[in-house]
Amino acid sequence: MTIPPDPASPPPLPGVDRLPADIPPPATLEARVIEALRARGVVRQPPASGRGGRHWRYDAAAAMVLLAVGAAAGTWWARPSVDLRPRFMLLLYPGTSPVLDATAEAATAREYGAWLGRLSAAGRAVSGDRLADGAAVVPPGAPATGSDLQGFFVITADSVEDARRIAAESPHADRGGVVVVRAIDTPR
């Protein structure tokens, strides 16, 4: 096949750079993949209790930390915001949380405290909380997409990259958790 010289090559297609680089897969595909991995003995099914003990222990530590930081900061997430920068949600999903002993829980508390303290001092933290286990699904029988969400923060940031950097510095990400960053679309 003849190779055309570069000057004659058609320029990039208009609009191609606006096509999404990511396309969400069907919601059912994750379960199918995990089931296939289980069938091959590649992954271990978590305990029947759901998240498993070690995750629960991590959640418990995180919850204590959030409560402690909230109390220490007084109205940390009740403070009215005048920040007009874009807001983002940091959605906390389970990852590879380590088993936490008492020493580790104390360290986790210090890490959350330091991280939230920095955000609060910079006026970036708006709210946050931990979610309880379990989810009600409507209509009954529909897939409980996102039911393993563990908690969330709402922050202000200059851009999605800035929000992503904040998320990457969070103790949750440090400990192997997955943080999904979503822009809040409602203007203020």
């Binding site: 003849t2 055309p4 320029p11 191609v16 990511d22 069907p26 994750e30 498993g52």
Partner: protein, 180 residues
């Protein structure tokens, strides 16, 4: 290619130990990109794309022990996905030869891409479409494409030339229909 510098290392280590949560985290982090590449390579045949993505994760799981971190996890996974998609294209081509001269011949109504440009790309012959998707939509260089497709870089450039021209022709025809 741009790389996601997320903390994949601990997840990979945990996945090697068979931790399901780690696999789920890796899946959620990387599958939207894998799915986009595969779906486009397969001209929006969704059922086949699902199969290819599943096979990608099976092979990735089998290869975790050999993954040494020389490449980013995203690059490694995408390479596996592209190879799986190429195999699927060969199977599909063998079972139902495509009418490669017909730009409408590939995408079926059930798998209709959402916009004209995607539709025009989906209608390309397999070889043109693969190169255009990898180069123009997902940032691969001709050298990288040449390695993945086991062709030389000149072939990749030539395929891209013809692919872009065919898409422009297709979009021009659509525009002409609308105007008339």
């Amino acid at each position: 290619m741009s790389e996601d510098a997320g903390p994949d290392g601990p997840l990979i280590e945990a996945a090697r130990r068979g931790d399901e949560w780690a696999f789920r985290a890796l899946y959620r982090r990387h599958t939207p990109r894998l799915y986009a590449v595969v779906l486009r390579m397969l001209a929006w045949r969704r059922d086949e794309a699902d199969d290819v993505v599943q096979e990608t994760w099976m092979r990735a799981a089998a290869g975790l022990g050999r993954f040494r971190g020389d490449a980013a996890v995203a690059t490694w996974l995408t390479g596996i996905a592209i190879r799986c998609a190429l195999e699927a294209l060969r199977r599909l081509s063998a079972s139902a030869p495509a009418t490669t001269s017909d730009l409408d011949g590939t995408a079926t109504e059930a798998n209709e891409p959402p916009i004209d440009l995607e539709r025009a790309i989906a209608g390309l012959p397999d070889g043109y479409r693969t190169v255009l998707v990898l180069h123009d939509l997902h940032g691969y260089t001709h050298a990288e494409i040449a390695r993945l497709l086991e062709v030389d870089a000149g072939t990749s450039k030539s395929q891209l030339f013809h692919a872009r021209r065919a898409v422009r022709a297709r979009l021009g025809a659509v525009t002409a229909e609308i105007v008339s």
